[in-house]
């Protein structure tokens, strides 16, 4: 996927005016947050589990090398192979290599954000291997030559009409606007593809060190068909997903479903441990785990260390007012929302993604809902500082801050200024107390009103308080 993060502001401007997108985003706001709230309420221990999960992840990261070694040795013991890949390029080549070894023509794929991260589909296609996305959302996107805009609901930016059109064009069937009919079409189209694929590629939500197992979590069952039917199963995953035991995995599964879709449990939770055993009637003959680093090991022990706890539940974006307003594509790369604003600069470089950590109102909702208690606002602030220090922020911002600094160091002048602007804004707002157009702030007032200051400035109130006391 091409990196379009530098254009965040322009992307956002377009997104806010995109009627279809705005309609689709309404579905998000009406869905996930409410379902999560209900699920959390039904599990009185939920917040204690979050503490446990945070501490457990910290323990894992402190011992990450040991757990990864243990995982690898168990996979090998069970007849599988682990491939360590430092970069996207290493991972793509490794996967293509495995495909070519078994002379693969088509590859079915379960949903995997890591595969998006390394641009796997394009690479396989260029090299004569046809990838087929099987998750319904991903399948729709593949037909449309599109990319996911959300980490668990990839096609959330589309409306029924878009799906109906894409299916009509590709399936050559009468056009339908019934979601049930469309899903049935996809089911039929993909049936033979599942059965005929040479290789199945899935992601993994967790890797269990104790047993050398990988686990996927899906509602559709596509991941299971993908990993059961072809002769070769490749798991593409990343190094921070390892957990110690099955009990530890269970803790995370309890948090994941509730934080993500608000389900008590996802429909299919499937462990894979090595290839088919002697006497098994089906299952793959070859089992490969491609462990991708792609910048993660550089985060260990650094400012972004806490981000490695992320279990990719999507709660932070589901509750983010900025994501809710502009959708995932505006963020310009694979990971959107608050978690993406932290990860993208790390993975593609702050020069290309400096706008993202600014795409936040710092309302704190993301941290409030994060199941592993990642201090997302703090991590975004880290990038902001970093960007500023590297002189990457736009001139307007730098001058603005420099100008504020000038006044802030001169208290008398500062007070005069804020009194004047307070008066000015209240005058602009008139009786309704809201300003619908403000010089130099069109970016704000084009899409919402600016509330006017409600009375005296902070300094005026403070002085009055002090006066009242004495």
């Amino acid at each position: 996927m091409q990196i379009k993060s530098p254009e965040f502001k322009e992307n956002a401007r377009i997104a806010l005016k995109d009627v279809g997108l705005q309609k689709a985003l309404g579905n998000l706001k009406a869905g996930f947050p409410e379902k999560r709230a209900i699920a959390v309420q039904r599990m009185p221990e939920f917040h204690d589990m979050r503490d446990e999960a945070r501490d457990l992840k910290n323990h894992i990261l402190e011992n990450l090398d040991i757990y990864l070694e243990q995982f690898e040795s168990k996979v090998t013991e069970n007849g599988g192979h682990v491939h360590w890949c430092r970069t996207s390029d290493d991972a793509r080549k490794t996967i293509l290599d495995i495909c070519q070894q078994v002379d693969a023509k088509t590859v079915t794929k379960g949903k995997s954000m890591v595969s998006e991260e390394i641009n796997l589909n394009e690479y396989l296609e260029e090299n004569g291997v046809q990838p087929i996305e099987t998750d319904l959302g991903e399948y729709i996107l593949q037909l449309r030559n599109d990319h996911p805009s959300h980490i668990i609901a990839p096609a959330i930016h589309l409306n029924l009409e878009d799906v109906s059109e894409a299916f009509h064009e590709h399936h050559k069937k009468p056009k339908s606007d019934d979601p049930a009919v469309l899903m049935q079409e996809a089911r039929e189209e993909l049936r033979t593809k599942f059965v005929n694929a040479d290789v199945g590629i899935t992601g993994a939500n967790f890797l269990v060190a104790e047993t050398g197992s990988t686990i996927i979590v899906t509602n559709e069952g596509n991941g299971d068909l993908t990993q059961t039917l072809p002769k070769t199963h490749i798991v593409i995953t990343s190094i921070e997903k390892v957990v110690p035991t099955l009990e530890d995995m269970t803790l995370f599964l309890r948090l994941l479903a509730r934080s993500a879709t608000g389900q008590e449990f996802t429909v299919y939770n499937t462990l894979s441990t090595g290839p088919r055993r002697e006497g098994d009637a089906d299952g793959p003959d070859n089992f490969h785990v491609v462990l991708v680093d792609n910048g993660r090991s550089d985060m260990v022990g650094g400012e972004l260390h806490d981000m490695l706890r992320c279990i990719r539940c999507s709660a932070c974006m589901n509750h983010c007012p900025v994501y809710g307003a502009v959708g995932g594509h505006a963020y310009g790369w694979v990971y959107p929302g608050p978690m993406g604003s932290v990860l993208t600069p790390q993975m593609v470089g702050i020069e290309k993604a400096g706008n993202l950590p600014n795409a936040s109102t710092f309302c704190g909702k993301c941290e409030e809902v994060c199941p592993v208690r990642i201090p997302l606002p703090k991590l975004m602030r880290h990038w902001r500082t970093n960007e500023f220090e590297k002189h990457l922020s736009p001139k307007a911002v730098r001058w603005g801050i420099a100008g504020w600094g000038f006044f802030a160091k001169r208290p008398k002048l500062y007070r005069q200024m804020s009194n004047t602007s307070n008066w000015f804004m209240r005058t602009m707002a008139g009786k309704k107390g809201r300003i619908n157009s403000l010089p130099l702030a069109g970016g704000w007032t084009d899409f919402r009103d600016m509330p006017a200051p409600s009375g005296k400035t902070f300094m005026q109130q403070w002085q009055k308080k002090q006066g009242d006391k004495s």
Binding site: D65, E220, G221, P244, T270, G274
Partner: protein, 221 residues
């Protein structure tokens, strides 16, 4: 080469070299202890209540439940269900318990033992355990029970014995370890209700790629 680089990077980040003996021992102790984390109170119940919880959670997840008082009632129940739904073939696992049953109630419905194929309408399997906490079935791969039976057909009929219902997942892991030691079967499937997707406009539709219908034959023995 990648591995050394990744490991080196991790250790540099942790400000240490290769882990020392004490660190390794601490990790191995944790792995061997297989200790529980917080187990939800909801799942810690007397067995009868676990069964009730299993039923209500499985129904909530849109599974169907048919209750039977003993094993021998399975063929008739399966035959009735297939007749009502006008299904002519049943792809079945080949466990001894299934083979020993008297399948004459099936009449002209074919019962075949094989892996599932595209187009199969209904499958029948046994299960390893039921998890009350979320109404979840646990199955695992083995020669007698092809994994495709759990995912490819339109309808999955699954036999569950009341005695194998446990409260939380933790208890199911104990059963798994008792049965398999530390070498797990190739796959363990946890199934909670039939397949679904909300990928079109976030509206839930049942029956995406896995079974559209999950029928649990609960034997109250």
């Amino acid at each position: 080469m990648s591995k050394a680089e990744i490991m080196g990077n991790i250790r540099r980040g942790l400000r240490r070299g290769e882990a020392n003996e004490a660190q390794r021992a601490a990790v191995h102790n944790r792995l061997n202890a297989k200790a529980n984390n917080l187990v939800p109170k909801r799942a810690q119940l007397p067995h009868a209540e676990q069964v009730a919880l299993f039923k209500s959670m499985a129904l909530e997840a849109a599974a169907e439940i048919i209750e039977l008082s003993e094993h021998s009632e399975v063929p008739q129940a399966v035959a009735d269900w297939l007749h009502v739904n006008q299904i002519k073939e049943l792809v079945s696992a080949s466990d001894a318990v299934l083979n020993e049953m008297d399948w004459s109630p099936l009449g002209d419905i074919q019962r075949v033992e094989r892996v599932a194929q595209a187009g199969d309408m209904a499958s029948l399997t046994t299960t390893f355990a039921g998890i009350a906490e979320t109404g979840t079935l646990m199955l695992h791969s083995r020669g007698e029970s092809p994994t495709t039976l759990n995912f490819l057909p339109d309808i999955h009929l699954a036999i569950l014995h009341r005695s194998t219902i446990v409260g939380p997942y933790e208890d199911a892991w104990k059963m798994i370890r008792e049965a398999f030691g530390n070498k797990l079967p190739r796959t363990i499937n946890m199934v909670t209700g039939p397949s679904r997707s909300a990928d079109i406009e976030q509206k839930l539709q049942m029956g995406a790629h896995g079974p559209r219908t999950l029928v649990i034959l609960l034997i109250n023995d």
